[in-house]
Symmetry: C2
DNA sequence: TAAATCGGTTTATATTATAAACCACTATTG
DNA sequence: CAATAGTGGTTTATAATATAAACCGATTTA
């Protein structure tokens, strides 16, 4: 049986990637509310996805407030697709 | 987003369940080689699935050797199906 | 100006997965 | 027949992971 990319096989990281696959970009606050996660957890998981090169994180400003924007990278997109293929084997899809 | 049953969201346990969903029963040795896991890890994960009522584990003999046979329970089948449904939301299937 | 809120990060803790060591039994070999 | 090696596991220790708690700087609000 194929290996499941451990970076993606985590509920929160998978949720984040899933969202980013469908949406040009998303900011921290949006991801937090969509995934219903705590900021601490989200911050850590975004770091991991970012370190792996699966997402690009850009810290900027919206008016006076900080704004952290995330996008999926081509590498992340590829990894996500491979993960989906591997999972299908497990789910019998 | 739906919650992913943490008992199933684990590579090895998911692999075991996936196999058991398609096959009347399977013994320890078969599961070990199919999933390419160590006996220790497999033993632990089978216990967890069993304690959760997702599989039934029966210890018997094949000739003089011990033989541990596993089957998925109706409850396990149901949980697996729910898990698959939940995951589809993440995978965009 | 003090207190609350926003948008996070860092650090500590609980949970989980994995590996290593072990055990009882059987079969084999010198 | 005693020592050795192999099955088929279980138990226990350790490494990795996820999660939560505490914190921080900047901004807004009372």
């Amino acid at each position: 049986m194929k290996e499941l990319d451990p970076l993606l096989h985590s509920q929160l990281r998978l949720a984040v990637m899933s969202i980013l696959m469908n949406v040009e970009e998303a900011d921290f606050v949006y991801l937090k509310e969509k995934t219903d996660s705590t900021s601490g957890n989200l911050s850590v998981q975004l770091d991991k996805l970012s370190s792996a090169g699966y997402i690009a994180v850009e810290k900027g400003f919206a008016g006076k407030k900080t704004r952290t924007v995330c996008r999926v990278t081509p590498q992340g997109r590829k990894a996500f697709e491979l993960y989906v293929e591997a999972l299908k084997e497990y789910l019998n899809l």
